[in-house]
Symmetry: C2
Subunit: 83 residues, 2 copies
């Protein structure tokens, strides 16, 4: 029970950590410190996670990676537009 809670807290934190980065990037348009390679690779990775989740009908994987993909794609878009 405690272990499951730790896992859920871990998932919650790693998924929603991209929201402050996306807001920071949208507000400041400062993307100089952000790695284009990281967000290209990471966005492709979360897209593949989403495909994997859809194929295996795994709702937690679909939800988690749907949310993360959205914010990661926003950051990547800004990085490409304002680099």
């Amino acid at each position: 029970m405690i272990v499951t809670s730790i896992g859920l807290a871990a998932a919650f934190l790693t998924i929603f950590s991209f929201i402050p980065q996306a807001l920071h990037t949208i507000r400041t348009k400062n993307t100089s410190g952000i790695s284009l390679y990281m967000y290209s690779i990471f966005t492709l990775g979360t897209l593949l996670w989403l495909v994997y989740g859809l194929f295996t009908a795994n709702i937690p994987i679909i939800v988690a990676n749907g949310v993360t993909l959205l914010f990661s794609a926003i950051i990547l878009f800004y990085k490409i537009k304002y680099k």
Copy 2:
């Protein structure tokens, strides 16, 4: 088989995407575009994932989050030191 390969490729990409960001940050010491909140929350999240992996003896979770925690912590350290 193809679906498992998609999942493994997804895991590989999302784990190793933090390496170019860490190298970029170490090389340039430019952390102005990086969100302190993101890396604080994300590093705590991967630490909890690692704890969860150790409690459940889940080797893939331990390996994936051990690697990600290392690079995330490096980026967080630079963000605090050079902000």
